[in-house]
Amino acid sequence: MNKKRDRLAVIYDILDIIRNHHNSMKLTPLLRSANLSSNSFSDYYTELISKELVKEIVDSDGHKYVTLTDKGFKYLEKYKLISGFIEEFEL
């Protein structure tokens, strides 16, 4: 991952990691893969939950997993176009 990532790129990277893990991932490996400090990851994770880009699911053994919502998939699909729009319009 790039050293300097803007907020939208960080969100994209986190969502992409989850998608590449068959859309189901535990929090600790996600934190490791996201390449963020735990404080920073916690902020982003709260944001992802509040924006309904991801949701938590608990399996029958009580393990907590993170999975993408439809909105999360949509974000991944549209990210490059939205980034292009932001860049073009200097927003």
């Binding site: 939208l8 969100i11 924006k51 880009l53 909105k71 949509k74 974000y75 549209k78 176009l81 939205i82 292009g84 729009f85 932001i86 073009e88 319009f89 200097e90 927003l91």
Partner: protein, 227 residues
């Protein structure tokens, strides 16, 4: 008091067509950016789309204000100017000033706190609109927004982006703002139609066509990214 019937269909048709096309294009820009804002909650997108929503409303209010100005001179009917004009001047002043600010904010929001931007935008819009309301003159809005436009251009070039070169987008932003001021000026009694006679009407139509082209170019550029 009876007024002679002096309906000028060219003025009325061009005005109503211009207002509808401009407002629709502005609302289409607002609508086109809805999904990208909902997905990202990006502040730049928010200011950008809100600016066009406000411009759309401004053009509608401007049309109503012009109708009030024209009534009694152009039409058979008279809208009580003394009563309604200040109210619409108040509305145009507030909505358009905020629209201009939001367009500026969309480029500079990263350098300032959200709170300071909101206070600046709303406070300026309230002061300006209230002043024009009490002075019964939309020209106050025009002069103040011209100063605002200069401040905006300075801010965008000094704090907006790393590159100082004039991009096509910056030109479009400046044109959108500048053309709003022109379109506000030309509804005035002392505007081009009164100064230049019949040529004034063509000057007015020219600027209206340019405004529509600018909105269309912006919408087209957005459509390229946000299909």
């Amino acid at each position: 008091m009876a007024h002679p019937f002096m309906f000028e269909p060219v003025i009325f048709i061009t005005e109503i067509a211009f207002t509808i096309i401009s407002a629709v294009l502005c609302f289409m820009i607002f609508s086109k950016t809805k999904e990208s804002y909902n997905l990202t909650k990006h502040d730049g997108i928010k200011y950008f789309r809100d600016a066009f929503l406000l411009f759309g409303l401004s053009y509608i209010l401007r049309f109503i204000l012009e109708l009030i100005f024209l009534s009694g001179e152009t039409f058979e009917f008279i809208i009580p100017r003394e009563m309604f004009a200040p109210l619409f001047i108040l509305g145009v002043g507030y909505v358009s000033t905020l629209g201009l600010w939001y367009l500026i904010f969309s480029s500079i929001w990263k350098r300032f706190s959200k709170k300071s931007l909101m206070i600046t935008g709303h406070a300026t819009a309230i002061i300006l609109s209230v002043a024009s309301f009490f002075l019964h003159s939309h020209l106050i809005i025009l002069y103040a927004q011209f100063i605002l436009l200069i401040i905006g251009v300075i801010l965008i070039f000094r704090t907006g982006t790393k590159t100082k070169k004039i991009s096509q987008t910056k030109i479009l932003y400046m044109l959108t703002s500048f053309l709003w001021l022109i379109n506000l000026f030309i509804i005035d009694k002392q505007g081009p139609p009164r100064i230049f006679g019949m040529w004034g009407l063509w000057i007015k139509i020219f600027f209206q066509i340019v405004s529509i082209v600018v909105f269309f170019v912006i919408y087209n550029k957005i459509s390229h990214w946000l299909k």
